[in-house]
Symmetry: C2
Subunit: 259 residues, 2 copies
Protein backbone atom coordinates (compact mmCIF):
# COMPACT_ATOMS: atom_id res chain seq x y z
CA UNK A 1 0.00 0.00 0.00
CA UNK A 2 1.03 3.63 0.02
CA UNK A 3 0.52 6.86 1.90
CA UNK A 4 -1.04 10.10 0.77
CA UNK A 5 -0.49 13.69 1.82
CA UNK A 6 -2.45 16.70 0.61
CA UNK A 7 -2.68 20.38 1.48
CA UNK A 8 -5.20 23.10 0.66
CA UNK A 9 -4.53 26.63 1.94
CA UNK A 10 -5.78 30.17 1.48
CA UNK A 11 -2.25 31.62 1.31
CA UNK A 12 0.80 30.08 -0.37
CA UNK A 13 2.17 27.81 2.34
CA UNK A 14 5.11 25.44 2.34
CA UNK A 15 4.74 21.79 3.22
CA UNK A 16 8.27 21.21 4.57
CA UNK A 17 7.07 20.24 8.07
CA UNK A 18 4.50 17.66 6.93
CA UNK A 19 6.76 16.33 4.18
CA UNK A 20 9.61 15.83 6.68
CA UNK A 21 7.30 13.51 8.62
CA UNK A 22 5.92 11.70 5.59
CA UNK A 23 9.29 10.98 3.97
CA UNK A 24 10.47 9.07 7.04
CA UNK A 25 7.75 6.52 6.33
CA UNK A 26 9.41 5.93 2.96
CA UNK A 27 11.99 3.43 4.18
CA UNK A 28 12.67 4.36 7.82
CA UNK A 29 9.55 4.50 10.04
CA UNK A 30 7.39 2.89 7.33
CA UNK A 31 7.76 0.40 4.46
CA UNK A 32 6.76 2.76 1.59
CA UNK A 33 10.19 2.76 -0.03
CA UNK A 34 9.26 2.23 -3.70
CA UNK A 35 9.31 5.84 -4.80
CA UNK A 36 7.66 9.09 -3.89
CA UNK A 37 6.42 12.28 -5.49
CA UNK A 38 4.93 15.65 -4.71
CA UNK A 39 3.12 18.22 -6.86
CA UNK A 40 2.94 21.93 -5.95
CA UNK A 41 0.52 24.17 -7.78
CA UNK A 42 1.44 27.77 -8.39
CA UNK A 43 -1.62 29.42 -9.95
CA UNK A 44 -2.34 27.33 -13.05
CA UNK A 45 1.16 25.83 -13.18
CA UNK A 46 2.25 22.70 -11.36
CA UNK A 47 5.72 21.68 -10.28
CA UNK A 48 6.20 17.97 -9.66
CA UNK A 49 9.17 16.27 -8.00
CA UNK A 50 9.36 12.49 -8.28
CA UNK A 51 11.86 9.81 -7.52
CA UNK A 52 11.53 6.01 -7.77
CA UNK A 53 14.06 5.79 -4.89
CA UNK A 54 13.05 5.70 -1.19
CA UNK A 55 12.03 9.15 0.08
CA UNK A 56 13.87 8.91 3.38
CA UNK A 57 17.29 9.11 1.71
CA UNK A 58 16.46 10.74 -1.64
CA UNK A 59 18.54 13.74 -2.80
CA UNK A 60 15.44 15.21 -4.45
CA UNK A 61 13.47 14.74 -1.22
CA UNK A 62 16.21 16.68 0.62
CA UNK A 63 15.44 19.64 -1.63
CA UNK A 64 11.68 19.32 -1.03
CA UNK A 65 12.21 19.04 2.77
CA UNK A 66 14.58 21.99 3.05
CA UNK A 67 13.57 24.48 0.36
CA UNK A 68 10.20 26.05 1.18
CA UNK A 69 8.12 25.93 -1.99
CA UNK A 70 4.89 27.77 -1.27
CA UNK A 71 1.58 26.66 -2.72
CA UNK A 72 -2.19 26.71 -2.09
CA UNK A 73 -2.66 23.14 -3.34
CA UNK A 74 -0.21 20.29 -2.86
CA UNK A 75 -0.42 16.54 -3.14
CA UNK A 76 2.20 13.96 -2.26
CA UNK A 77 2.57 10.20 -2.23
CA UNK A 78 5.01 7.58 -0.96
CA UNK A 79 4.75 4.22 -2.61
CA UNK A 80 4.85 0.61 -1.58
CA UNK A 81 4.46 -1.14 -4.91
CA UNK A 82 1.79 -3.76 -5.40
CA UNK A 83 0.59 -3.39 -9.01
CA UNK A 84 3.32 -2.25 -11.43
CA UNK A 85 7.11 -2.42 -11.02
CA UNK A 86 9.23 0.25 -9.30
CA UNK A 87 9.93 2.85 -11.97
CA UNK A 88 9.56 6.55 -12.68
CA UNK A 89 6.50 6.03 -14.91
CA UNK A 90 4.76 4.20 -12.04
CA UNK A 91 5.57 6.91 -9.48
CA UNK A 92 2.70 9.11 -8.26
CA UNK A 93 1.39 11.78 -8.55
CA UNK A 94 0.15 11.54 -12.14
CA UNK A 95 -0.80 14.59 -14.20
CA UNK A 96 -2.90 15.20 -17.29
CA UNK A 97 -4.20 18.36 -18.93
CA UNK A 98 -7.94 18.74 -19.49
CA UNK A 99 -9.80 21.93 -20.48
CA UNK A 100 -6.61 23.99 -20.17
CA UNK A 101 -5.86 22.90 -16.59
CA UNK A 102 -3.46 20.40 -15.09
CA UNK A 103 -5.22 17.69 -13.07
CA UNK A 104 -3.01 15.87 -10.60
CA UNK A 105 -3.79 12.69 -8.70
CA UNK A 106 -2.36 10.18 -6.24
CA UNK A 107 -3.88 6.92 -5.01
CA UNK A 108 -3.53 4.63 -2.03
CA UNK A 109 -5.06 1.19 -2.31
CA UNK A 110 -5.42 -1.71 -4.66
CA UNK A 111 -8.06 -2.38 -7.31
CA UNK A 112 -9.17 -5.62 -8.90
CA UNK A 113 -10.05 -5.93 -12.59
CA UNK A 114 -8.68 -2.48 -13.25
CA UNK A 115 -7.63 -3.41 -16.76
CA UNK A 116 -11.33 -3.62 -17.70
CA UNK A 117 -11.85 0.06 -16.85
CA UNK A 118 -12.67 1.94 -20.03
CA UNK A 119 -10.36 4.84 -20.83
CA UNK A 120 -9.66 7.22 -23.72
CA UNK A 121 -8.74 9.97 -24.61
CA UNK A 122 -6.41 9.56 -21.58
CA UNK A 123 -4.15 6.50 -21.71
CA UNK A 124 -1.95 5.06 -18.95
CA UNK A 125 1.80 5.41 -19.53
CA UNK A 126 2.79 3.02 -16.73
CA UNK A 127 1.24 -0.20 -15.47
CA UNK A 128 -0.26 0.67 -12.07
CA UNK A 129 -3.91 0.15 -11.18
CA UNK A 130 -3.70 3.73 -9.87
CA UNK A 131 -2.91 5.32 -13.21
CA UNK A 132 -5.54 3.17 -14.97
CA UNK A 133 -8.09 4.50 -12.48
CA UNK A 134 -6.93 8.09 -13.05
CA UNK A 135 -7.22 7.73 -16.83
CA UNK A 136 -10.65 6.18 -16.34
CA UNK A 137 -11.82 9.10 -14.14
CA UNK A 138 -10.56 11.83 -16.47
CA UNK A 139 -11.72 10.02 -19.61
CA UNK A 140 -15.22 9.62 -18.15
CA UNK A 141 -15.20 13.31 -17.25
CA UNK A 142 -14.02 14.42 -20.70
CA UNK A 143 -16.53 12.15 -22.45
CA UNK A 144 -19.41 13.19 -20.21
CA UNK A 145 -18.77 16.90 -20.79
CA UNK A 146 -17.43 17.12 -24.36
CA UNK A 147 -17.52 20.93 -24.18
CA UNK A 148 -16.19 21.07 -20.58
CA UNK A 149 -18.26 21.01 -17.40
CA UNK A 150 -20.44 24.05 -16.67
CA UNK A 151 -18.65 24.38 -13.33
CA UNK A 152 -15.65 22.75 -11.76
CA UNK A 153 -17.70 21.85 -8.70
CA UNK A 154 -19.94 19.83 -11.03
CA UNK A 155 -16.85 18.16 -12.48
CA UNK A 156 -15.66 17.13 -9.01
CA UNK A 157 -19.16 15.88 -8.12
CA UNK A 158 -19.02 13.73 -11.22
CA UNK A 159 -15.57 12.41 -10.27
CA UNK A 160 -16.80 11.53 -6.80
CA UNK A 161 -19.63 9.42 -8.28
CA UNK A 162 -17.11 7.53 -10.40
CA UNK A 163 -14.82 7.17 -7.35
CA UNK A 164 -17.69 5.37 -5.62
CA UNK A 165 -17.58 2.79 -8.42
CA UNK A 166 -13.84 2.30 -7.96
CA UNK A 167 -14.35 1.93 -4.20
CA UNK A 168 -16.48 -1.13 -5.05
CA UNK A 169 -13.54 -2.71 -6.89
CA UNK A 170 -11.14 -2.61 -3.95
CA UNK A 171 -9.38 0.04 -1.90
CA UNK A 172 -9.50 3.50 -3.40
CA UNK A 173 -8.25 6.32 -1.20
CA UNK A 174 -7.24 9.22 -3.40
CA UNK A 175 -6.42 12.89 -3.79
CA UNK A 176 -7.19 14.80 -6.98
CA UNK A 177 -6.64 18.49 -7.67
CA UNK A 178 -6.94 20.98 -10.52
CA UNK A 179 -4.90 23.58 -8.64
CA UNK A 180 -7.89 25.35 -7.07
CA UNK A 181 -9.95 22.49 -5.70
CA UNK A 182 -8.66 19.40 -3.95
CA UNK A 183 -10.86 16.32 -3.65
CA UNK A 184 -10.06 13.81 -0.91
CA UNK A 185 -11.89 10.52 -1.34
CA UNK A 186 -11.81 7.91 1.41
CA UNK A 187 -12.27 4.23 0.75
CA UNK A 188 -10.70 2.87 3.95
CA UNK A 189 -8.40 5.40 5.62
CA UNK A 190 -7.82 9.14 5.36
CA UNK A 191 -7.50 11.83 8.05
CA UNK A 192 -7.56 15.61 7.88
CA UNK A 193 -7.00 18.64 10.03
CA UNK A 194 -7.63 22.34 9.47
CA UNK A 195 -5.24 24.71 11.22
CA UNK A 196 -6.38 28.30 11.78
CA UNK A 197 -5.96 31.00 14.44
CA UNK A 198 -5.25 30.62 17.29
CA UNK A 199 -2.29 28.56 16.03
CA UNK A 200 -0.17 26.44 18.33
CA UNK A 201 2.75 24.03 18.36
CA UNK A 202 2.57 20.75 16.42
CA UNK A 203 4.85 17.78 16.94
CA UNK A 204 5.66 15.18 14.24
CA UNK A 205 4.98 11.51 15.01
CA UNK A 206 7.84 10.18 12.87
CA UNK A 207 10.68 12.50 13.77
CA UNK A 208 11.72 14.52 16.79
CA UNK A 209 10.62 17.81 15.20
CA UNK A 210 8.05 20.34 16.26
CA UNK A 211 6.90 23.62 14.78
CA UNK A 212 5.34 26.67 16.39
CA UNK A 213 2.80 27.73 13.77
CA UNK A 214 2.30 31.11 15.47
CA UNK A 215 5.76 32.01 14.11
CA UNK A 216 4.90 31.11 10.52
CA UNK A 217 1.32 32.30 10.02
CA UNK A 218 -0.91 35.35 10.11
CA UNK A 219 -4.29 35.47 11.83
CA UNK A 220 -6.20 34.92 8.55
CA UNK A 221 -4.36 31.79 7.41
CA UNK A 222 -6.37 28.61 6.89
CA UNK A 223 -4.40 25.47 6.09
CA UNK A 224 -5.88 22.00 5.74
CA UNK A 225 -3.68 18.92 5.67
CA UNK A 226 -4.96 15.49 4.62
CA UNK A 227 -2.99 12.29 5.27
CA UNK A 228 -3.36 8.51 5.34
CA UNK A 229 -2.24 8.53 8.99
CA UNK A 230 -2.07 11.60 11.23
CA UNK A 231 1.39 13.18 10.89
CA UNK A 232 1.41 14.83 14.32
CA UNK A 233 0.82 13.29 17.75
CA UNK A 234 -0.51 16.28 19.70
CA UNK A 235 -3.40 17.42 17.48
CA UNK A 236 -6.90 16.11 16.79
CA UNK A 237 -7.17 14.80 13.24
CA UNK A 238 -10.60 14.00 11.81
CA UNK A 239 -11.14 10.53 10.39
CA UNK A 240 -12.98 10.25 7.08
CA UNK A 241 -15.58 7.55 6.53
CA UNK A 242 -15.56 4.88 3.79
CA UNK A 243 -17.26 6.35 0.71
CA UNK A 244 -16.85 9.91 1.95
CA UNK A 245 -15.51 12.65 -0.31
CA UNK A 246 -14.53 16.13 0.79
CA UNK A 247 -13.87 18.90 -1.69
CA UNK A 248 -11.53 21.59 -0.35
CA UNK A 249 -10.70 25.01 -1.71
CA UNK A 250 -8.38 27.56 -0.11
CA UNK A 251 -8.21 25.42 3.02
CA UNK A 252 -11.97 25.30 3.59
CA UNK A 253 -14.47 22.48 3.06
CA UNK A 254 -16.60 23.30 -0.01
CA UNK A 255 -18.68 20.11 -0.25
CA UNK A 256 -18.80 17.00 1.91
CA UNK A 257 -20.69 13.99 0.67
CA UNK A 258 -21.15 10.25 1.06
CA UNK A 259 -19.60 8.25 3.85
Amino acid sequence: MCELLGMSANVPTDICFSFKGLRERGGRTGPHKDGWGVAFYNKKGVNTFKDPNPSHDSEIANLVSDYPMKSCAVLAHIRQANRGRISLENTHPFTRELWGRYWTYAHNGQLSEYKDLPYGPFTPVGTTDSEYAFCYLLSELANHYPNRAYSRKAAFRFIQKKANKLHQRGVFNMLLSDGDYLLAYCSTKLYWITRRAPFSVARLSDLDVDIDFTQHTTIDDVVTVIATEPLTNNEQWKKMQPGEGILFKLGEVVVKSGG
Copy 2:
Protein backbone atom coordinates in the same frame (compact mmCIF):
# COMPACT_ATOMS: atom_id res chain seq x y z
CA MET B 1 14.18 34.95 -26.90
CA CYS B 2 15.28 31.82 -25.11
CA GLU B 3 17.86 29.06 -25.28
CA LEU B 4 17.41 25.35 -25.81
CA LEU B 5 19.46 22.35 -24.73
CA GLY B 6 18.80 18.74 -25.68
CA MET B 7 20.57 15.43 -25.26
CA SER B 8 20.12 12.03 -26.89
CA ALA B 9 22.37 9.17 -25.75
CA ASN B 10 22.69 5.39 -26.08
CA VAL B 11 23.47 4.94 -22.36
CA PRO B 12 21.92 6.82 -19.44
CA THR B 13 24.10 9.93 -19.20
CA ASP B 14 23.92 12.93 -16.92
CA ILE B 15 23.73 16.46 -18.27
CA CYS B 16 25.40 18.24 -15.32
CA PHE B 17 28.29 19.59 -17.42
CA SER B 18 26.14 21.09 -20.20
CA PHE B 19 23.50 22.33 -17.76
CA LYS B 20 26.19 24.11 -15.69
CA GLY B 21 27.07 26.11 -18.80
CA LEU B 22 23.48 26.76 -19.87
CA ARG B 23 22.26 27.98 -16.47
CA GLU B 24 24.86 30.76 -16.44
CA ARG B 25 23.09 32.27 -19.44
CA GLY B 26 19.98 32.53 -17.27
CA GLY B 27 20.88 35.83 -15.63
CA ARG B 28 24.69 35.93 -15.56
CA THR B 29 26.36 35.45 -18.97
CA GLY B 30 23.02 35.79 -20.80
CA PRO B 31 19.69 37.60 -20.39
CA HIS B 32 17.43 34.50 -20.20
CA LYS B 33 16.43 35.06 -16.59
CA ASP B 34 12.65 34.51 -16.80
CA GLY B 35 12.56 30.89 -15.71
CA TRP B 36 14.04 27.60 -16.77
CA GLY B 37 13.17 23.92 -16.91
CA VAL B 38 14.58 20.53 -17.75
CA ALA B 39 12.94 17.17 -18.44
CA PHE B 40 14.76 13.84 -18.00
CA TYR B 41 13.24 10.69 -19.42
CA ASN B 42 13.76 7.41 -17.62
CA LYS B 43 12.26 4.72 -19.85
CA LYS B 44 8.63 5.81 -20.33
CA GLY B 45 8.64 8.11 -17.30
CA VAL B 46 9.72 11.74 -17.33
CA ASN B 47 11.01 13.86 -14.47
CA THR B 48 10.68 17.60 -14.95
CA PHE B 49 12.27 20.35 -12.87
CA LYS B 50 11.02 23.88 -13.46
CA ASP B 51 11.39 27.25 -11.84
CA PRO B 52 10.12 30.66 -12.94
CA ASN B 53 13.18 32.18 -11.19
CA PRO B 54 16.52 32.81 -12.96
CA SER B 55 18.49 29.59 -13.45
CA HIS B 56 21.87 31.01 -12.46
CA ASP B 57 20.84 31.38 -8.80
CA SER B 58 17.95 28.89 -8.51
CA GLU B 59 17.97 26.37 -5.63
CA ILE B 60 16.30 23.81 -7.89
CA ALA B 61 18.96 24.43 -10.56
CA ASN B 62 21.64 23.74 -7.92
CA LEU B 63 20.17 20.26 -7.53
CA VAL B 64 20.08 19.70 -11.30
CA SER B 65 23.70 20.94 -11.68
CA ASP B 66 25.11 18.87 -8.85
CA TYR B 67 23.07 15.67 -8.67
CA PRO B 68 23.76 13.46 -11.70
CA MET B 69 20.39 12.31 -13.03
CA LYS B 70 21.07 9.88 -15.86
CA SER B 71 18.89 9.73 -18.93
CA CYS B 72 18.93 8.83 -22.65
CA ALA B 73 16.71 11.79 -23.62
CA VAL B 74 16.79 15.22 -22.02
CA LEU B 75 15.49 18.62 -22.98
CA ALA B 76 16.03 21.92 -21.23
CA HIS B 77 15.13 25.56 -21.72
CA ILE B 78 16.02 28.94 -20.25
CA ARG B 79 13.50 31.66 -20.90
CA GLN B 80 13.55 35.31 -21.82
CA ALA B 81 9.86 36.12 -21.85
CA ASN B 82 8.29 37.76 -24.87
CA ARG B 83 4.76 36.31 -25.15
CA GLY B 84 3.20 35.42 -21.77
CA ARG B 85 4.11 36.67 -18.30
CA ILE B 86 6.77 35.12 -16.06
CA SER B 87 5.03 32.27 -14.25
CA LEU B 88 5.26 28.55 -13.64
CA GLU B 89 2.55 27.73 -16.19
CA ASN B 90 4.52 29.62 -18.87
CA THR B 91 7.81 27.87 -18.04
CA HIS B 92 9.11 25.28 -20.54
CA PRO B 93 9.34 22.37 -21.16
CA PHE B 94 5.68 21.48 -21.62
CA THR B 95 4.39 17.91 -21.42
CA ARG B 96 1.28 16.12 -22.62
CA GLU B 97 0.37 12.44 -22.81
CA LEU B 98 -0.65 10.97 -26.16
CA TRP B 99 -1.03 7.26 -27.03
CA GLY B 100 0.31 6.25 -23.60
CA ARG B 101 3.56 8.24 -23.90
CA TYR B 102 4.67 11.56 -22.48
CA TRP B 103 5.60 14.08 -25.18
CA THR B 104 7.81 16.93 -23.99
CA TYR B 105 8.66 20.09 -25.85
CA ALA B 106 10.54 23.38 -25.57
CA HIS B 107 10.62 26.30 -28.01
CA ASN B 108 12.91 29.20 -28.81
CA GLY B 109 11.51 31.98 -30.94
CA GLN B 110 8.44 34.08 -31.45
CA LEU B 111 5.34 33.42 -33.54
CA SER B 112 2.80 35.82 -34.97
CA GLU B 113 -0.93 35.06 -35.08
CA TYR B 114 -0.43 32.04 -32.88
CA LYS B 115 -3.87 32.42 -31.34
CA ASP B 116 -5.36 31.42 -34.72
CA LEU B 117 -3.66 28.03 -34.56
CA PRO B 118 -6.32 25.34 -34.25
CA TYR B 119 -5.96 23.06 -31.25
CA GLY B 120 -7.96 20.39 -29.42
CA PRO B 121 -7.95 17.87 -27.76
CA PHE B 122 -4.82 19.52 -26.28
CA THR B 123 -5.42 22.96 -24.76
CA PRO B 124 -2.83 25.51 -23.59
CA VAL B 125 -2.73 26.06 -19.81
CA GLY B 126 -0.56 29.19 -19.99
CA THR B 127 -0.43 32.07 -22.45
CA THR B 128 2.79 31.58 -24.42
CA ASP B 129 2.94 31.31 -28.20
CA SER B 130 5.18 28.29 -27.49
CA GLU B 131 2.53 26.28 -25.66
CA TYR B 132 -0.10 27.20 -28.27
CA ALA B 133 2.23 25.83 -30.93
CA PHE B 134 2.83 22.64 -28.92
CA CYS B 135 -0.92 22.06 -28.47
CA TYR B 136 -1.38 22.71 -32.19
CA LEU B 137 1.31 20.16 -33.13
CA LEU B 138 0.01 17.40 -30.82
CA SER B 139 -3.63 18.10 -31.65
CA GLU B 140 -2.88 17.87 -35.40
CA LEU B 141 -1.04 14.62 -34.75
CA ALA B 142 -3.87 13.14 -32.65
CA ASN B 143 -6.50 14.21 -35.16
CA HIS B 144 -4.53 12.95 -38.16
CA TYR B 145 -4.00 9.52 -36.60
CA PRO B 146 -7.15 8.89 -34.53
CA ASN B 147 -5.98 5.33 -33.79
CA ARG B 148 -2.33 6.33 -33.26
CA ALA B 149 0.39 6.55 -35.93
CA TYR B 150 1.55 3.27 -37.51
CA SER B 151 5.09 4.17 -36.44
CA ARG B 152 6.62 6.85 -34.26
CA LYS B 153 8.99 7.80 -37.08
CA ALA B 154 5.89 8.60 -39.15
CA ALA B 155 4.54 10.68 -36.27
CA PHE B 156 7.75 12.72 -36.11
CA ARG B 157 7.74 13.14 -39.91
CA PHE B 158 4.22 14.53 -39.59
CA ILE B 159 5.30 16.91 -36.78
CA GLN B 160 8.19 18.16 -38.89
CA LYS B 161 5.81 19.05 -41.73
CA LYS B 162 3.66 21.04 -39.29
CA ALA B 163 6.81 22.66 -37.85
CA ASN B 164 7.55 23.95 -41.36
CA LYS B 165 4.22 25.79 -41.21
CA LEU B 166 5.09 27.35 -37.85
CA HIS B 167 8.50 28.38 -39.23
CA GLN B 168 6.55 30.49 -41.76
CA ARG B 169 4.84 32.36 -38.89
CA GLY B 170 8.02 33.56 -37.22
CA VAL B 171 10.93 31.99 -35.42
CA PHE B 172 10.40 28.37 -34.44
CA ASN B 173 13.43 26.54 -33.10
CA MET B 174 12.26 23.61 -31.02
CA LEU B 175 12.99 20.30 -29.36
CA LEU B 176 10.35 17.61 -28.98
CA SER B 177 10.74 14.12 -27.51
CA ASP B 178 8.65 11.10 -26.64
CA GLY B 179 11.45 9.62 -24.53
CA ASP B 180 12.94 7.49 -27.29
CA TYR B 181 13.18 9.93 -30.20
CA LEU B 182 14.23 13.56 -30.01
CA LEU B 183 13.35 15.93 -32.86
CA ALA B 184 15.43 19.11 -33.23
CA TYR B 185 13.86 21.61 -35.60
CA CYS B 186 15.80 24.68 -36.70
CA SER B 187 14.14 27.87 -37.81
CA THR B 188 17.05 30.27 -37.28
CA LYS B 189 19.65 28.86 -34.90
CA LEU B 190 20.51 25.47 -33.47
CA TYR B 191 23.82 23.61 -33.15
CA TRP B 192 24.66 20.01 -32.35
CA ILE B 193 27.59 17.78 -31.61
CA THR B 194 27.95 14.01 -31.26
CA ARG B 195 30.58 12.81 -28.85
CA ARG B 196 31.91 9.24 -29.25
CA ALA B 197 35.22 7.42 -28.83
CA PRO B 198 37.95 8.59 -28.85
CA PHE B 199 36.65 11.04 -26.23
CA SER B 200 38.61 14.09 -25.17
CA VAL B 201 38.45 17.15 -22.93
CA ALA B 202 35.69 19.75 -23.40
CA ARG B 203 35.75 23.27 -21.99
CA LEU B 204 32.62 25.33 -21.23
CA SER B 205 32.27 28.75 -22.84
CA ASP B 206 30.30 30.28 -19.94
CA LEU B 207 32.22 29.07 -16.93
CA ASP B 208 35.80 28.11 -16.15
CA VAL B 209 35.00 24.40 -16.13
CA ASP B 210 36.28 21.56 -18.24
CA ILE B 211 35.58 17.85 -18.30
CA ASP B 212 37.65 14.92 -19.47
CA PHE B 213 35.06 12.67 -21.08
CA THR B 214 37.52 9.75 -21.19
CA GLN B 215 37.00 9.52 -17.39
CA HIS B 216 33.20 9.34 -17.65
CA THR B 217 32.50 7.15 -20.67
CA THR B 218 33.03 3.72 -22.15
CA ILE B 219 34.18 3.08 -25.71
CA ASP B 220 30.63 2.37 -26.95
CA ASP B 221 28.97 5.55 -25.62
CA VAL B 222 27.35 7.88 -28.13
CA VAL B 223 26.04 11.18 -26.78
CA THR B 224 24.57 13.97 -28.87
CA VAL B 225 24.02 17.45 -27.44
CA ILE B 226 21.91 20.09 -29.18
CA ALA B 227 21.98 23.76 -28.15
CA THR B 228 20.98 27.22 -29.35
CA GLU B 229 24.63 28.31 -29.07
CA PRO B 230 27.61 25.95 -28.71
CA LEU B 231 28.24 25.33 -25.02
CA THR B 232 31.94 24.55 -25.35
CA ASN B 233 34.70 26.57 -27.00
CA ASN B 234 37.16 23.84 -28.01
CA GLU B 235 34.92 21.52 -30.04
CA GLN B 236 33.38 21.65 -33.51
CA TRP B 237 29.59 22.03 -33.29
CA LYS B 238 27.51 21.54 -36.43
CA LYS B 239 25.16 24.36 -37.41
CA MET B 240 21.65 23.40 -38.50
CA GLN B 241 20.01 25.14 -41.45
CA PRO B 242 16.70 27.04 -41.44
CA GLY B 243 13.89 24.54 -42.08
CA GLU B 244 16.09 21.58 -41.17
CA GLY B 245 14.86 18.88 -38.81
CA ILE B 246 16.98 16.10 -37.34
CA LEU B 247 15.45 13.13 -35.58
CA PHE B 248 17.80 11.53 -33.04
CA LYS B 249 17.52 8.24 -31.21
CA LEU B 250 20.08 6.81 -28.77
CA GLY B 251 22.51 9.57 -29.75
CA GLU B 252 22.46 8.80 -33.48
CA VAL B 253 20.83 10.65 -36.37
CA VAL B 254 17.81 8.65 -37.57
CA VAL B 255 16.41 11.03 -40.19
CA LYS B 256 17.62 14.39 -41.47
CA SER B 257 15.36 16.44 -43.65
CA GLY B 258 14.66 19.92 -44.98
CA GLY B 259 17.04 22.82 -44.58
